[in-house]
Symmetry: C2
Subunit: 224 residues, 2 copies
DNA sequence: CAACTCTACTTTGTCAACAATTCTACAAGG
DNA sequence: CCTTGTAGAATTGTTGACAAAGTAGAGTTG
């Protein structure tokens, strides 16, 4: 991302893109909870922009599936039911399995090193009993995995899915279990990558995903 | 989609969504070729809407990656280089392989029937020497495959990828080879699904995708 | 003759006002 | 008492106009 240039790139990204990023963050971290109605006038004033650019940004998020639009009634933060949780992880599995396959066709050692960075961060956060930090490092691990596949389209799709994953995690933060197990799980995946054991790595990742779903759903009897 | 109701649903989709659909179609079918600059005033008048809704629609397509935005200079139809073609098919493979896996965990016979519908259409078009029709049926086959997985997120991601696939096909329509082979290929996949031969189906689909890439790239020495 | 500068034009980015629709509250009737 | 109809208020959808940035061309200068 930030390529240490002498002069920072002049071409700034468009205003709607910036606003969309802020909204995406707010939604992912629970500042805007599912079902919330996004009043244009309020939001615009809050963000210091006019309604025009804000509406453009919201269209982006609608396209991503983070907002649902009802004509003449406004835009709402998408609600996630049990089916949605299952679908999010199903789609994530599809994306990350493909990424894993491509990564393991390349330099396994380098990939493992890269993957162990967020694991170390997770370990650190775990030692500090920082539940949010553990969650964030978890996300970083999977983000790194997909980045390593260097597929722009896979990464783009994954970004949306990760935002929705954050929504799930934020909404059910109490569900977070023993962090030591998570550190071990991720370490194991990284080490399997290093060893080049393709089949095992895929199985571990699949199990990791299935675990997450059952954990989330067992902790969420009602919908989000 | 169309659920034969007595009274059709009253809530119409938002204007930006409609416009985005039209633009997506125009881009997919080559009415707007890669690199084209989209002047707002012209397009708005041409579509019979004002600049506001049009801008909102274009933000959607930008989010999808169909348009690239350069601040203060306008929006351009995304150009597809060789790397993009490879990436499109890599992402499509990820999505469709996952869909295939889920489909084959269900009713294989029903799935095969559904998949053979576009194959029949392809055969018909092939008999009429209708190259475009063959291509469209090809797309329909893969669309049906993903629909059968009934995963909203996978379908959404796939829609974008199919638009980009159409761009490739449209840009290199001359590359289309003997349609008989294509009919056979798709038939084989559908029949393998019916037989429940999971491993074989995945291998066939993978080969099908790889073929498509090599065919597209061999026919496209220059970029699109 | 090439390169630079300045001017005018076109286009995008942003904003504020108007029109249309929906929600809320309240009153009337069965 | 519940349902139905009707105003008012608030919000979204759309349009048009203004300001900023970029582009193209002619003119000038080395």
């Amino acid at each position: 991302m930030a390529q240490g240039r002498t002069i920072e790139t002049l071409v700034q990204e468009s205003t709607p893109a910036i606003i969309a990023g802020k909204l995406r963050h707010a939604i992912g971290y629970g500042e805007l909870t599912p079902g919330t109605r996004l009043g244009e006038a309020d939001l615009a004033q809050q963000l210091g922009v006019s309604r025009g650019p804000l509406r453009e940004a919201m269209q982006r998020l609608t396209q991503e599936g983070l907002l649902t639009s009802i004509r003449n009634r406004g835009l709402f933060v998408a609600s996630l039911g049990e089916d949605d949780v299952r679908d999010i992880y199903f789609a994530r599995t599809a994306v990350e399995m493909a990424a894993l396959g491509r990564v393991m066709a390349g330099d396994n050692a380098a990939a493992a090193e890269r993957l162990l960075e967020p694991v170390a961060e997770m370990d650190r956060a775990s030692a500090n009993h920082d539940a949010a930090g553990v969650g964030e490092a978890d996300i970083s691990f999977h983000e790194a995995l997909v980045e390593l596949a260097s597929s722009p389209r896979l990464s783009r799709m994954h970004t949306t899915l990760l935002t929705q994953t954050r929504m799930c995690i934020t909404a059910l933060q109490e569900t977070y279990p023993e962090p030591d197990g998570r550190v071990a799980e991720h370490t194991e995946i990284a080490e399997t990558v290093r060893a080049g054991e393709t089949g095992a790595a895929h199985e571990l990742l699949q199990a990791h995903m299935d675990d997450a779903v059952t954990r989330l759903l067992s902790g969420a009897p009602g919908l989000l």
